[in-house]
């Protein structure tokens, strides 16, 4: 085959996936290309040969080739890699994505690797189009091919995006606008500045850089500096402001490792906080490493009908030579499972989430845990979508359950002092949600469906020697329980729900309410 003049092309239009499987697809592509590309003008006497016979000759050759590829190994290796079209982007960046091609030893492997390389180069977001062509190698070297990579760099390095995202650091969703500058130094670097705004007057201004390849590291590096401010005055009488720097050290499909350095300040401008919150006001240095392991095999994150998901997040704070930085250990996990029923696209989703937080270091048994790191339950979002630890609880308002303390007395407020919700060091939530299509065809087509659900959750304090009074039985007995049902409208940006909640069990100071409410859950 190497001696023939056949030319194979693997051409892909921008923003599409390349597949190397499927004879039919290959046939179509190659045939089309054969028609488009003529190497040299035909000498006049050959024009007498009819077009149909030429085509049928080519076709039979291709069919022979593909039959050979299906039945046996077609040995082929890469002799030379030629990169064209990159004026700004460094060759090394493109070559790094083509490593697999160099190691391919058969035609099949080569086509497969070419497809994957194409997709990776598209993912860098710095090219408008990527074309990988396989050409025959030098005649003196049989079984070789040259790979020609033609790229078209983006004409406009600026892009703007906006959307709604969940922000684990902010403990809520945020609407974010981002401006990106691509490929400033030619290393595939992506610079971005963004502004995000969310509930509880959450606002964040941040800037970041993404480097796909750093010397020695096979995974990309993402660094980000941000200024985040959140107002928890209404729920816990404090405002939080954090100046932080984060560095993503490892980011693969299943694993994520990030280092965070931050200066956090808690203030209380209202001067109405409870004693526990008063003691936590001030400055702290956060230096932590966070490892996340995630498997999500559900068929959809907006409306899962089958599959499972598991997320485990471990955070260790206090990794600094200075022993005065915030020292804590935080572990949370999420488990989700969806079982399809087959009729009306019904599915049962159930899940359990849990988390524990504890300080470490000298005198850790008596120290309180840092207030912003604690677990808080409640809020208008669905546990079906979220994989962010124990946070969602049907029917309860934001930070609406768990340990609380009375605020400072205010004579002018005749309702009596409010309460500060302090969160907990141990949190467990569980839910079951049965979703089903509605009988109206029009709603089914729009993806609108109904659901009934039940949820339970509890928070407990363990620090400052409270763990001595902790008993699993008491913890189980004090679980809050709620049930309900409603309609779900999945949209591109978020999942909107209109639900009726009924609280079966809540405690005296909890802020849960039986009734009808909307909820918004961003895509995770």
């Amino acid at each position: 085959m190497a001696n023939s003049d056949e030319e194979k092309q693997s051409q892909t239009p921008p923003n599409s996936e390349t597949t190397a499987e499927g004879d039919r697809e290959e046939n179509d592509v190659v045939e089309e290309d054969e028609n488009e590309d003529e190497e040299e003008p035909e000498p006049p006497h050959k024009q007498h040969k009819s077009r149909e016979s030429q085509l049928s000759e080519h076709r039979s050759r291709m069919e022979n080739l593909f039959r050979r590829m299906q039945r046996e190994r077609v040995n082929l290796r890469v002799h030379d890699l030629i990169i064209k079209g990159n004026t700004k982007t460094k060759d090394s960046i493109i070559e790094a994505e083509l490593e697999a091609l160099k190691n391919a030893s058969t035609m099949q492997e080569l086509l497969d690797a070419a497809g994957r390389a194409n997709a990776r180069l598209q993912q860098l977001e710095i090219f408008d189009s990527v074309k990988i062509t396989l050409d025959k190698g030098p005649p003196e070297l049989p079984d070789t091919a040259n790979v020609i990579v033609e790229v078209v760099e983006t004409s406009s390095p600026f892009t703007a995006e906006c959307g709604a995202y969940s922000k684990p650091a902010a403990r809520s969703w945020t609407a974010e606008g981002t401006l990106k500058y691509k490929n400033w130094f030619g290393y595939g670097d992506l610079w971005d500045g963004s502004v995000a705004y969310g509930p509880n007057q959450t606002s964040e201004v941040s800037a970041g850089v993404f480097l796909p390849r750093v010397k020695g590291l096979s995974t990309p590096v993402l660094a980000r500096a941000s200024l985040l401010s959140q107002d928890w005055q209404e729920f816990s009488s404090y405002k939080e402001r954090s100046l932080g720097f984060s560095l993503n050290l490892l980011s693969t499909k299943y694993h994520d490792l990030a280092y965070n350095l931050g200066w956090r300040t808690l203030t209380d401008p209202s001067q109405m906080s409870s004693r526990a919150v008063r003691r936590q006001l001030g400055h702290s240095l956060l230096s932590s490493l966070k490892y996340t392991f995630k498997i999500d095999r559900r068929d959809s994150s907006m409306r899962p009908t089958k599959g499972h998901a598991f997320v485990s997040t471990t955070q260790i704070g206090g990794l600094a030579p200075d022993h005065r930085s915030l020292r804590f250990l935080r572990q949370e996990f999420d488990l989700r499972y969806a079982i399809p029923f087959g009729f009306y696209r019904a599915a049962l989703n159930f899940g359990i989430s849990g988390g524990v937080l504890f300080p470490w270091g000298q005198g850790f048994l008596n120290k309180p845990s840092p207030l912003p790191e604690r677990f808080f339950l409640g809020g208008d979002f669905s546990p079906v979508c979220s994989l962010a630890g124990p946070t969602a609880m049907y029917g309860f308002k934001t930070r609406g359950l768990g340990p609380s303390e009375p605020r400072r007395q205010n004579r002018e407020n005749s309702d009596g002092p409010g309460r500060d919700y302090l969160g907990g060091d141990l949190a467990v939530t569980a839910f079951a949600d049965l979703s089903f299509d509605l009988p109206v065809k029009w709603l089914r087509e729009l993806g609108v469906h109904g659901h009934v659900f039940a949820g339970a959750g509890n928070l407990s304090k363990l620090t400052e020697n409270e763990f001595r009074n902790f008993s699993p039985q008491k913890f189980l007995e004090s679980f809050r329980i709620s049930v309900g049902g409603g309609v779900v409208v999945p949209t591109k940006i978020f999942r909107l729900e209109a639900n009726y909640y009924y609280l079966l069990k809540q405690h005296e100071h909890d802020r849960g309410k039986t009734g009808f409410r909307f909820s918004f859950s961003p895509r995770f």
Binding site: E17, Q123, L281, H283, D299, R324, R408, L446, T491, I493
Partner: protein
């Protein structure tokens, strides 16, 4: 007498906690705004627990005193001492309030000597004392930035610029020396500045003297100026021994006088309320709050309906499942 004993017992039951900055330089608290309050409570024989705040050096709320739901912050009502007087908890100044000399002495001690110690801690010295008082428990980068910020704030407050630095320094030191001279003459050989009984002026001045003598380095100008007045040094040492080191008041300290408002025994927390710190924006009435809430819901509903409309309009073109397939990840 019975009334006073009842009040004493009731005050003892209230479990006051005084939150101050950490002890340093052999003093129970080395912060210039916390030590006067500590000494005032000691003079007033009010029993309290001490608690420390070490992570909020730039707060103007500290020191504060708390008991149950009641809290008196430093930045309300002109200070915690004034709050305690107003709420009838501890008032040593009842009989001095209309004495002009007492008022002007208090003003001189609060302003001239207050400015002097602030200058000496943050600007006049190398700042090592201030760092030990305010930033021992904060990590180095935070402490460094806050120290620099506070130095700038103090210079702004005292009106010090590059051009007038020397002149300002001279002015501050001169005023302090004049004040020491006047107070030394005022004190004589007595135990207290006025009528041989303690008042808030004694608490403030004594705190100042103790800090100058113990927290500042030996090269300090203020310290050397103070050491010239032997009776002031003796005054400080005597009260330090009695109030701080001994832990109990000496017999020469008279019983404090109760507050002037009524002779009936006071009720509990309902009389102790303090107004929250009022901000520039006015208080909202209930109706305004409901109106704001409704307006928010209205805007949110509009936004949601627009988004839904846009989504449904595009629904036929898009796939229902919007999730990405398992793409070509980095470890594929």
């Amino acid at each position: 007498m019975e009334e006073m004993n009842t009040e004493n017992n009731w005050r003892e039951e209230q479990n006051f906690t005084l939150v101050v900055r950490k002890p340093c330089f052999g003093l129970p608290t080395a912060c210039p705004s916390c030590l006067p309050l500590y000494l005032y409570l000691k003079f007033a024989q009010l029993h309290f627990h001490l608690d420390f705040s070490s992570i909020y050096p730039d707060s103007d709320q500290i020191p504060y005193i708390e008991s149950g739901d009641y809290v008196a912050y430093n930045n309300e009502n002109g200070g915690v001492i004034e709050s305690l007087k107003k709420d009838g908890i501890a008032d040593l100044d009842a009989e001095f309030k209309s004495v002009p000399e007492w008022i002007s002495t208090k003003a001189m001690v609060s302003t001239w000597l207050g400015d002097a110690i602030m200058y000496e801690l943050w600007v006049g010295s190398d700042g090592s004392s201030a760092k030990m008082i305010y930033y021992p428990d904060l990590p180095w980068p935070i402490g460094k930035v806050l120290f620099w910020k506070q130095c700038q704030t103090v210079m702004l407050q005292l009106g010090i610029t590059k051009d007038n630095a020397e002149q300002k320094q001279e002015e501050i030191y001169n005023r302090a020396k004049i004040a020491y001279e006047a107070l030394s003459n005022r004190l004589g050989e007595q135990d207290f500045l006025f009528e041989n009984r303690p008042s808030s002026v004694d608490a403030i001045f004594l705190a100042h003297v103790l800090l100058i003598l113990q927290a500042l380095p030996e090269t300090s100008v203020l310290r050397n100026a103070l050491l010239e007045h032997g009776n002031l040094v003796k005054y400080a040492e005597k009260h330090k021994m009695e109030q701080i080191e001994a832990g109990s008041s000496s017999s020469s300290v008279p019983q404090f006088q109760s507050g002037p408002s009524s002779s009936a025994p006071r009720k509990g927390p309902s009389n102790w309320s303090s107004k929250p710190k009022s901000k520039s924006k006015r208080e909202k009435t209930k109706e305004e709050k409901t109106l704001r809430k409704r307006a928010k819901y209205f805007v949110a509903a509009q936004l949601v309906s627009v988004l839904l409309f846009l989504t449904f309009m595009n629904r036929s073109d898009d796939e229902v499942e919007l999730d990405d397939d398992d793409g070509y990840g980095y470890d594929d």
